[in-house]
């Protein structure tokens, strides 16, 4: 049997770490919900694409348009936002995928709060560094 929950907590684990573990368990569940929600949005978006473009159901597409680079997809926040307002399928899929990408970012952000609460300066700094790197990725991608 695998021990579950507080029954497995060892007496040797420092009190503070147990709090971090508890926070992480909550975060992990939030992430699971996040993953399921974002994929639900993705599926809704895919359905919308075909509802708005019934011709995609019947006529043969030039596959190259789908599989080769050149077609531009919504990939900036404003494009995605405008697209969703017009219930465009591609933009809705993009929102779902963006939510998926943001779930681990949220985990890191909440971990920072847990370390600040513990007054653990070293780990607040380490986790903050990770968050900054994650946010930088969007900036670097835009600059290219």
């Amino acid at each position: 049997m695998t021990p579950i929950g507080s029954g497995a907590a060892s007496p040797s684990a420092p009190q503070e770490d147990r709090r971090v573990v508890r926070v992480e368990i909550v975060i992990s569940w939030v992430l699971r919900v996040g993953v399921v929600t974002s994929l639900a949005v993705v599926v809704v978006g895919l359905v919308l694409i075909f509802v708005h473009h019934p011709e995609l159901l019947t006529s043969a597409t030039r596959l190259q348009d789908l599989t080769q680079r050149g077609t531009v997809f919504p990939h900036t926040l404003s494009e995605v936002f405008q697209g969703v307002m017009q219930t465009r399928g591609e933009a809705t899929v993009a929102v779902g995928l963006l939510l998926l990408i943001l779930t681990p970012v949220t985990r890191v952000a909440v971990s920072i709060l847990a370390f600040i609460y513990q007054r653990d300066r070293v780990y607040t700094f380490i986790t903050l560094t990770v968050l900054i790197i994650l946010l930088m990725s969007f900036v670097i991608g835009r600059l290219e």
Partner: protein, 281 residues
């Protein structure tokens, strides 16, 4: 082929890929990227973009269970994530700079190495002897976990934290460059390099994979390399496949079937390598 058929084929293929990936403990990326590029002629950057978002989905699901069982060393994960995310940024940046054919070549080599690594005997190198290194003590990386097989709490000490960071940078770079979780590099870096117990290494690697993937996924998204027609069905399919795989039988133990898969993976990796070496067709 209509667009609907294309989306459904991507979805069905990704379910199979996620299923096989979870049985082998490899994650879906190594299976799905060759399928998309070799069979469906998808541009390799789109295939990588689709795979990297899928990895976030699968790793977040598994991570919750490991954290609850207190297998994950959260402090080790936080420290090493600095290196993996920086590596992932580097890899994601490079992927936009180098020609697609070289991505095929690197993918073929890494896939072949991963296949061979599956034959590695998982021996436990962890120990509780000695003092622990100054870095590990300062960052309080040493820990303990409850081993269900032994029925007791097992303490361990972490060594070579800086070597671990360097190896994690490389693992992150491969993840960002090729759109794979690269747990196959992360786990040995921890159990052989830093002497973490194998179970803790596996759980901690899984915890880090989602955050690492997010670093390069952001870059791919902002660059416009995440194609909703491909990434949408692939992410949904891999997650469904991985969930079925985890439920059906857990990790595949049968040695013969493992050898068969290793051979198949080696053949596919050779095809990826050849496609890259032959250049644009």
């Amino acid at each position: 082929m209509t667009a609907l058929e294309f989306v459904l084929i991507c979805f069905a293929g990704s379910i199979v890929g996620g299923f096989i990936g979870s049985l082998l403990g490899l994650g879906g990326g190594l299976v799905v990227i060759p399928m998309l590029t070799l069979a469906l002629k998808v541009d390799i950057r789109y295939a990588i973009g689709a795979s990297i978002v899928s990895i976030i989905a699968t790793s977040s699901g598994a991570a919750a269970a490991y954290v609850r069982e207190r297998m994950t060393n959260l402090r080790v994960a936080m420290v090493l994530e600095v290196a993996t995310t920086l590596g992932a940024l580097t890899g994601g940046y490079l992927a936009g700079r180098i020609a697609g054919r070289w991505l095929f070549v690197v993918f073929g080599v890494v896939m072949a190495c991963s296949a061979v690594m599956m034959l590695r005997k998982r021996r436990n190198a962890a120990s509780d002897e000695g003092e622990g290194t100054p870095w590990a003590n300062y960052l309080r990386l040493n820990g303990s976990y409850y081993d269900a097989a032994l029925g007791k709490e097992v303490p361990y000490r972490v060594i070579r934290a800086r070597l671990g960071l360097a190896l994690m940078y490389v693992a992150g770079m491969m993840s960002g460059l090729l759109g794979i979780g690269s747990g196959v590099l992360k786990v040995p870096a921890m159990d052989l390099g830093m002497r973490l117990p194998i179970k803790v290494s596996t759980a901690t690697s899984n915890f880090m994979i989602g955050v690492t993937a997010a670093a390069s996924a952001g870059l791919y998204f902002a660059r416009g390399d995440i194609n909703p027609f491909i990434a949408g069905p692939v992410a949904a399919g891999i997650l469904v496949g991985a969930m079925i795989g985890a439920r059906v039988m857990g990790r595949l133990q049968n040695a013969l079937i493992r050898y068969v898969f290793v051979v198949v993976l080696l053949i596919v990796s050779a095809q990826m390598l050849l496609k890259g070496l032959k250049g644009p067709s």
